[in-house]
C-alpha cells in the first residue's frame, strides 16, 4: 500500500491542508509508505520563512521540515506550480524535490487522496 496525498490549496486559508498533513503523519506513524505532492497554490506550503503567528496560526513549515524524520518519504513539488509562483528550489524546504506531474507519477501509488 503506497499512498500519495495531494495538497493543492494555499496554507492558512482553510484547514484542508493541515488535515491532509495529519493524514500523512498518521500513515507514516503506522509504517505505511506515504508521499506528499504540492500542486497549484499548495506549493506555498513548501516556502521557507513562513511567519503565520501574526494571524494566530501555527507554522506548517515546521511540521513539513520534520516530515522526513517521521517517515513521510517524499515532499514533491509540482514544477509547473513552482514556475507559476516564481519559486526556485532554493526557496523551498530542503526536503522538497521538483517533479513533473504526469499520469505516470500517479500510477506509482495505490491510493491518491486530495481533500
Amino acid at each position: 500500500m503506497n499512498v500519495l496525498i495531494v495538497i493543492d490549496r494555499a496554507p492558512y486559508g482553510d484547514w484542508s491542508g493541515r488535515e491532509s498533513l495529519d493524514m500523512a503523519f498518521s500513515l507514516a506513524a503506522f509504517d505505511k509508505p506515504v508521499a506528499l505532492l504540492f500542486r497549484g497554490a499548495g506549493i506555498n506550503w513548501l516556502r521557507h520563512g513562513q511567519l503565520p503567528e501574526d494571524i494566530g496560526q501555527k507554522s506548517g513549515e515546521r511540521n513539513l521540515a520534520a516530515a522526513p524524520i517521521f517517515g513521510v518519504s517524499d515532499l514533491l513539488a509540482d514544477q509547473q506550480a513552482a514556475s507559476d509562483y516564481r519559486l526556485t528550489l532554493d526557496q523551498l524546504l530542503p526536503a522538497a524535490s521538483l517533479v513533473e506531474v504526469r499520469p505516470e507519477l500517479y500510477r506509482q501509488y495505490d491510493h491518491v487522496i486530495s481533500l
Partner: protein
C-alpha cells in the same frame, strides 16, 4: 447489469451537512452499495464532515435531518462509524469522556458514532477494497 464480486468499502465524509452535498451523496452510495451486496467496512468523518455527528442538528420539519437519517442507516446495517478526534474536538463535537477530559458543559456526539483517531482510517486504507472520499463543495 454485469455481476461483480462483492467489495468492501470505507466512506470518508469531509463535507458538512447543509453546507455541502457530501453526507447525502455518501448515504445514497452506501444504500446502493449495500443493496447490491457490497459490504461497508466503515464510515469515517473527517474535517467539516464531523458536523454530521452532532446530535444537536435540528433541521426544519420539512427538511431531512441528515444526522438522524445517517444514524438510522448505521444502526440498521450495523456499520461502524468513526469521527476523527482531532477534527471533532476543534469543531465542538464531544462524547462524554471528552466532555469530562476537557471540562466542557455538554456532550453532543450522536449515537452510534464513536470518536477515535486517524488509525481507524489508516486501517481502512490498508484493508478495504475501496476507500471513497465525499468532499465539500469547492
Amino acid at each position: 447489469m454485469t455481476q461483480t464480486s462483492p467489495l468492501s468499502y470505507t466512506l470518508v465524509i469531509s463535507g458538512a451537512p447543509y453546507s455541502s452535498q457530501a453526507p447525502q451523496t455518501a448515504l445514497a452510495f452506501a444504500k446502493a452499495a449495500t443493496a447490491a451486496g457490497h459490504k461497508l467496512d466503515r464510515v469515517f468523518l473527517y474535517g467539516d464532515g464531523v458536523y454530521l455527528a452532532s446530535s444537536l442538528v435540528t433541521a426544519p420539519s420539512d427538511e431531512v435531518n441528515w444526522t438522524e437519517t445517517w444514524c438510522d442507516f448505521l444502526c440498521d446495517t450495523r456499520t461502524p462509524a468513526t469521527v476523527c478526534i482531532a477534527s471533532a474536538l476543534r469543531r465542538g463535537i464531544l462524547n462524554e469522556s471528552e466532555k469530562k477530559r476537557y471540562q466542557r458543559t455538554a456532550s453532543n456526539l450522536a449515537d452510534p458514532f464513536e470518536i477515535a483517531g486517524l488509525g481507524d482510517w489508516v486501517e481502512s486504507v490498508a484493508t478495504s477494497s475501496r476507500v471513497l472520499y465525499f468532499l465539500p463543495a469547492e
